[in-house]
């Protein structure tokens, strides 16, 4: 339970924020007397009993949109609470006072047109009143114009890819894969506080800038969802959708894939790291340097040991989900690699499958996601692991040649 306190909004005193969240509500919240009181009562009740572990409300908002959504929800809860209390106090009064056993006289009415018109019209008017603030927030949520930075988010089975298309950081691209250690997932080690919510490469953005997120997918529909930022958008293969956010404070915000996408649906989290302008600029410079340094030397000759070591990293991150750590796969859907014809047969066939995938199956075209040296390393690993002993050391240049 103690661990949970550090999870959401890393570096932020969670409990304090939940308790003071209401007081810190922005002026955007348009409250009128009675609903505000009701919502206050509800929230106080909730807050005083809420420990970090027993989250009962939205995560602490980190954007104005998320704050408006938080406020709208409180507003709705207040209205629903009032209606609920009004309606069910009548029902419970009746349950207590209109019992046959109390002996009271039984009325005979069974219609009243005036009352019926009233309780049709009044709810209708309440709905109109509710819909206006929601409409305003929705229109703001859908206005992704004039963005400072545009990032393309691609959903894969089962990880995310980020491409900085426009604005500061343009050209940076990387994959973001779950980094919870295998032994925690298998229940062999105690779970860290960021269990299932940590990735190798965060999506890094500057604070206070409008970030436009374009979503798409490489295979099936995924959902890019970061609650604290107030964003959720389906990632649909073959189409581009968009959403946006402007973080109003620094911090780390975590979300998960929100559309069932197969067996790894629960294992592809999203981590957005919001930095100050200076730190972001430093990060961008660092990334660009890394990309330049890591830029493929097409003629580099790798030693077998290096290929195996790097290949195992790539295999664990990209292949083990389906083909399993032991290479046995889950036949018939995910073939075994240990002892397979492909892994022990001609190199070129093995390279082809990894680069271009197998249409009509779950085997993706990893050539689009991985660099030449990654592909070379992982194929080398597969051809020399378990009971496979081909002795082949595939070089990046062979992969480059095989790409068309």
């Amino acid at each position: 339970m103690l661990q949970s306190a550090t999870i959401i909004g890393e570096g932020i005193a969670l409990e304090t924020h939940i308790k003071t969240g209401f007081i810190n509500m922005t002026k955007q919240a348009r409250w009128t007397g009675v609903p505000r009181l009701a919502a206050l009562a509800v929230l106080t009740l909730l807050c005083t009993s809420a420990e970090a572990a027993y989250e009962v409300n939205f995560q602490q908002p980190a954007t104005q949109v998320a704050q408006e959504v938080y406020d709208l929800h409180m507003w709705m809860m207040g209205i629903c609470a009032i209606i609920f209390v009004a309606v069910f106090s009548v029902m419970f009064y009746s349950v207590i006072r209109h019992r046959k056993s109390s002996g009271g006289a039984r009325a005979n009415f069974h219609e009243n047109t005036r009352v019926e018109i009233l309780w049709t019209a009044i709810p209708f008017l309440i709905l109109i009143a509710i819909s206006w603030p929601v409409t305003k927030t929705l229109l703001a949520m859908r206005d992704s114009s004039s963005a400072d930075i545009t990032i393309k988010v691609t959903g894969y089975q089962w990880k995310w890819g980020y491409d900085y298309l426009n604005g500061e950081g343009e050209g940076i691209k990387f994959m973001s894969v779950l980094s919870t250690p295998e032994d925690q997932l298998a229940g062999k080690a105690p779970k860290g506080s960021l269990y299932l919510l940590e990735v190798d490469n965060h999506l890094v953005v500057p604070v206070g800038k409008k970030i436009r997120i374009l979503t798409t997918s490489n295979d099936v529909i995924h959902g890019w969802y970061v609650p604290a930022l107030g964003v959720q958008q389906d990632a649909i293969p073959g189409f581009i959708r968009d959403t946006w956010f402007r973080a109003d404070r620094e911090g780390v915000f975590r979300g998960q894939c929100a559309q069932l996408c197969g067996k790894g649906h629960g294992y592809m989290p999203i981590v957005v790291e919001v930095l100050s302008a200076e730190k972001y600029a430093a990060w961008v410079a660092g990334q660009k340097q890394k990309m330049a340094a890591g830029a493929e030397d097409p003629n580099k000759v790798w030693q077998l040991a290096d290929l195996m070591r790097h290949g195992q990293e790539v295999y664990v991150k990209n292949c083990a989900a389906c083909h399993q750590l032991g290479g046995k796969g889950i036949p018939p859907v995910f073939p075994a690699l240990d002892g397979s014809k492909v892994a022990n047969g001609p190199k070129i066939a093995h390279i082809e499958i990894v680069l271009t995938g197998r249409p009509g199956t779950a085997m993706a075209a990893f050539g689009q996601q991985l660099s030449d040296s990654d592909v070379a390393a992982v194929i080398t690993y597969e051809r020399n692991s378990w009971s496979n002993k081909t002795g082949d050391a595939i070089q990046p240049s062979e992969i480059k040649a095989a790409r068309r």
Partner: protein, 529 residues
């Protein structure tokens, strides 16, 4: 039921000759009471199967970590839990009530089409076998959620094809049943029973039957397109071929939203009969109740987009679906107010059917509120595909539809069996169900608010505590239903003799025939004033 039906004292009077017995009787029966009984037993068996799947889900979610099920298996169980509960448990239960009660309530001797009725039931058996056995074929059952979205459902193995086939058969069964119900209600009412004198259960089923005929073929179309995309080279749902995955969502939810009203409207009809009976007072606003039911049914065709708010539709679409969805709250609210107005200044008693009816009104309204919150598109963006949605639809479908089904069983058991059930045990069943239901599902609202997505087999640590509570509640809820089975079986076998009208305030033609109801009733139609 068996004792009376077997007796069949007036067989010779109608020249039936030898009535089949044993298996042949049940295979060939065209009697609405027999068929109703088969539907109800089938639905209970499916309820247990679907319930076991729910418990498998909750046992996996009891603690963080993957303990019992591989993720693919988990997805298969989640999918089958939904399909079996909706199509195998809830819908057949209400068809069972329709079969047993509508002819008796409208003064008709049977349903209009006896053989069609028999077929509608027996189709359910191969369909359910297809669904259950799909777990054991290579690749396992469909694991794309009951909503079967492509492209994920295109990737699945042959379990998906079995599911598609099962869905087709289930759809045919429902459509045939609905044709029967509409024809029966429109043509076979006793003389003097005008439409506006019909019991509410008949009205709600009449409207539901039209909904079924309108949308089941749409569902069939959607899954057929899945089938052809999977095997016959079409690309309805693939951008590469000029199609769009979101097309499936539109077609599916055009069926899917009316489907949830199909699931609840007969329940509304049951509550509209139980509450007046135990208030000893006429239903308040009968005419409005009819119009409200019809409005809900018509509006249900206009709101399917609220299941797709994050799919990328233009904001004008989001606004339209938001406003249209909010509108449905108005007639639904009218119904709740009318039920309470029926109780107001009545003479209430709280036998088990009334307890379930009150539980329904209380908890279904809560489900309605969470639905209204979800209708607010801006808020939905935070809650879509989280446990808030799971909480919402379990409040409406379990505390709603299932509770009304329990109310119906307790209400009509004396009529079916000729015995009174054990009232004390019935009340215990109610309270256990009430407490454990809320333990299971209320905390799921919080999980959704906190950001826990749906359909995940393992979760981050901040979701631990409420998942623990929910799982304990689920086991309590499941075990409590064994008490219900016990009460029903004991009642069938014996118990205090039930009068023709065991409930003082009950009104309707079904209470004018003996308990247990004879194998054939209303062979001479009554004259209704």
């Amino acid at each position: 039921m068996e004792a009376t039906a077997m007796g069949h004292a007036d067989a010779d009077a109608h020249g039936h000759g030898q009535q089949p017995t044993g298996l042949k009787r049940w295979l060939t029966t065209t009697n609405h009471k027999d068929i109703g009984t088969m539907y109800l037993w089938f639905s209970f068996v499916m309820f247990i199967v679907g319930g076991i799947m729910a418990l498998l889900i909750r046992v996996e979610l009891f603690q963080p970590g993957l303990q019992f099920l591989e993720p693919e298996r988990y997805n298969e169980i989640v999918t089958l839990h939904g399909l079996i509960m909706v199509f195998g448990a809830i819908m057949p239960a209400f068809v069972g009530f329709a079969n047993w009660m509508i002819p008796m309530q409208i003064g008709a001797s049977d349903m209009a089409f006896g053989r069609l009725n028999n077929w509608s039931f027996w189709l359910l058996i191969p369909a359910s076998l297809l669904l259950v056995t799909s777990l054991f074929v290579p690749g396992g059952a469909a694991g794309a959620g009951w909503t079967l979205y492509p492209p994920l459902s295109i990737q699945m193995g042959m379990g998906m094809d079995l599911t598609i086939f099962a869905v087709h058969i289930l759809g045919i069964s429902s459509i045939l049943g609905s044709i029967n119900i509409i024809t029966t209600i429109l043509n076979l009412r006793a003389p003097g029973m005008t439409m506006m004198k019909m019991p509410m259960f008949a009205w709600t089923w009449l409207i539901t039957a039209f909904l079924i005929i309108a949308v089941m073929p749409v569902f069939a179309g959607a899954v057929t397109m899945l089938l052809t995309d999977r095997h016959f080279g079409t690309t309805f749902f693939s951008a590469g071929g000029g199609g769009d995955p979101v097309l499936f969502q539109h077609v599916f939810w055009f069926f899917g939203h009316p489907e949830v009203y199909i699931v609840i409207l007969p329940g509304f009809g049951i509550i509209s009969q139980v509450v007046p009976a135990f208030s000893r007072k006429q239903l308040f606003g009968y005419t409005s109740m009819v119009y409200a039911t019809a409005s809900i049914a018509i509006l249900s065709f206009f709101v399917w987009g609220h299941h797709m708010f994050t799919s990328g539709m233009p904001v004008a679409g989001q606004l339209f679906y938001m406003y249209a969805t909010m509108l449905i709250a108005v007639p639904t609210g009218v119904k709740v107010f009318n039920w309470i107005a029926t109780m107001w200044r009545g003479a209430l008693s709280f036998e088990t059917p009334m307890l379930f009816a009150l539980g329904f009104i209380f908890l279904f309204t809560m489900g309605g509120f969470s639905g209204l919150v979800l209708a607010m598109t801006a808020v939905d963006v935070q809650m879509h595909n989280t446990y808030y949605v799971v909480a919402h639809f379990h409040y409406t479908m379990v505390a709603g539809a299932l509770f009304s089904a329990f109310a119906a069983v307790y209400y009509w058991l004396p009529k079916w069996t000729g015995h009174m059930y054990d009232e004390t045990l019935g009340k215990i069943h109610f309270w256990l169900t009430m407490i454990f239901f809320n333990m299971t599902f209320f905390v799921q609202h919080f999980l959704g608010l906190a950001g826990m997505p749906r359909r995940i087999p393992d979760y981050a640590l901040q979701f631990t505590d409420f998942n623990l509570i929910s799982s304990i509640g689920a086991f309590g809820l499941g075990l409590s239903q064994l008490l219900f089975l016990y009460v029903v079986i004991v009642c069938i076998k014996g118990g205090p003799k039930a009068a023709a009208k065991p409930w003082e305030g009950a009104v309707g033609l079904e209470w004018d025939v003996p308990s247990p109801a004879p194998y054939h009733t209303w062979e001479i139609q009554p004259q209704v004033k």
